[in-house]
Symmetry: C2
Subunit: 201 residues, 2 copies
DNA sequence: GTCTATATACTGATAGAC
DNA sequence: GTCTATCAGTATATAGAC
């Protein structure tokens, strides 16, 4: 009983601590990026020593992975489970953009960390490549489903439209972070999407 | 004659040295960003000591400014001087995207450094905000000019279209860096733009 | 104009006490 | 589970010799 046995409460406490650390790390990586953000900054935010943080996550890289999968969970919750199909999926993306406009910290996390992730020598480059491939695949399927239902303007290139839509979301985030009052992310998204569709968004 | 007098050759040599340093810094900041890129890396690339680099640029921040204004010069040369108007300006942007697809280093510099620049505490945040405002202004004017000439589809929102076009360029760069073979930046740009126009791109 | 040497600070990670 | 102490590495910037 000395090693394996623990009460539910103790597990819950550790999990809670881990979540606190992930939250703090998200804040730090959001504002200065993963490369420049330090474990010390994260530790200070959560009231722990730097070694204390490394007890819960064996390395800085593991911590970033935890932050990213937590964020993916947030997104999935927002989009709905199971993922909607066709035009409903596209509506979900617009709704996500609306939600993003209320959380600059999350937007900045995405912008800075995915920019860093394009580097050939970034430890999580493969993660980013895989995640973009997945998102683009889902979006293309949504366009294709809409086409099957006659809800897509004939002649639309589904692969190109999905790249364009995701690129648009990403690019608008940069502009919005630099000038929040000058950019309506969801509005611009709708103005791009609506002319492609034969139904109301 | 001890302080101010220098021959043309000496000036030219110093300017040449500065340019070498700017080139090296562009490479370094491209691959790991401004925050993580070190003066030592830059110095090594150009065969100088770190102190030697700081003789030419008083601080790391001054060096980044030099890199960015050099890149702006590159872009301006590509777009033409004076800047083209109307649809020709839009054609210039597509041509720029075509050129970008031949220089991943420059693309990565833009992606990572402008992502970093959105941070509230980045020393050059104002520079980035100003530069985006300028680019968006030029692009909006191009759409408006096209509208005057009847080359723009009636009912097009010029401000929204300019934000969308620039966001699209930025966002496609991220996807292209992660999967160069899967993304045709200039093609996607044309597929967005052409339906807005009444003339051939 | 370039160097070496140095000041000062911070980095991620490990070892071991409690 | 958290701490202190520590390591080896790196950062920007400055001082002063040449």
């Amino acid at each position: 009983m000395t090693t394996g046995a623990r009460t539910r409460g103790e597990y819950a406490k550790s999990a809670e601590r881990r979540q606190q650390i992930v939250d703090a790390a998200a804040e730090v990586f959001s504002s200065v990026g993963y490369r420049k953000g330090s474990l010390r900054d994260v530790a200070d935010k959560v009231g722990l020593s730097q070694a204390g943080v490394l007890h819960h996550f064996p390395s800085k890289e593991h911590l970033l992975e935890a932050v990213l999968s937590w964020r993916d969970g947030q997104t999935a919750r927002l989009m709905g489970d199971p993922l909607p199909e066709g035009v409903d999926f596209l509506r979900g993306l617009v709704r996500a953009a609306e939600y993003n406009a209320t959380t600059p910290e999350l937007v900045e996390l995405h912008v800075i960390v995915s920019a860093e992730g394009t580097s050939a020598d970034h430890p999580l480059r493969e993660y980013f490549a895989g995640r973009y491939a997945s998102v683009l695949g889902h979006t293309r399927q949504a366009f294709e489903r809409a086409a099957e239902l006659g809800q897509l303007r004939p002649g639309t290139d589904c692969a190109s439209a999905s790249r364009t839509l995701i690129a648009l979301m990403d690019g608008l985030q940069v502009q919005w972070l630099l000038a929040p009052d000058g950019v309506d992310m969801a509005g611009d998204l709708r103005r791009y999407l609506q002319p492609l569709l034969t139904v109301e968004l």
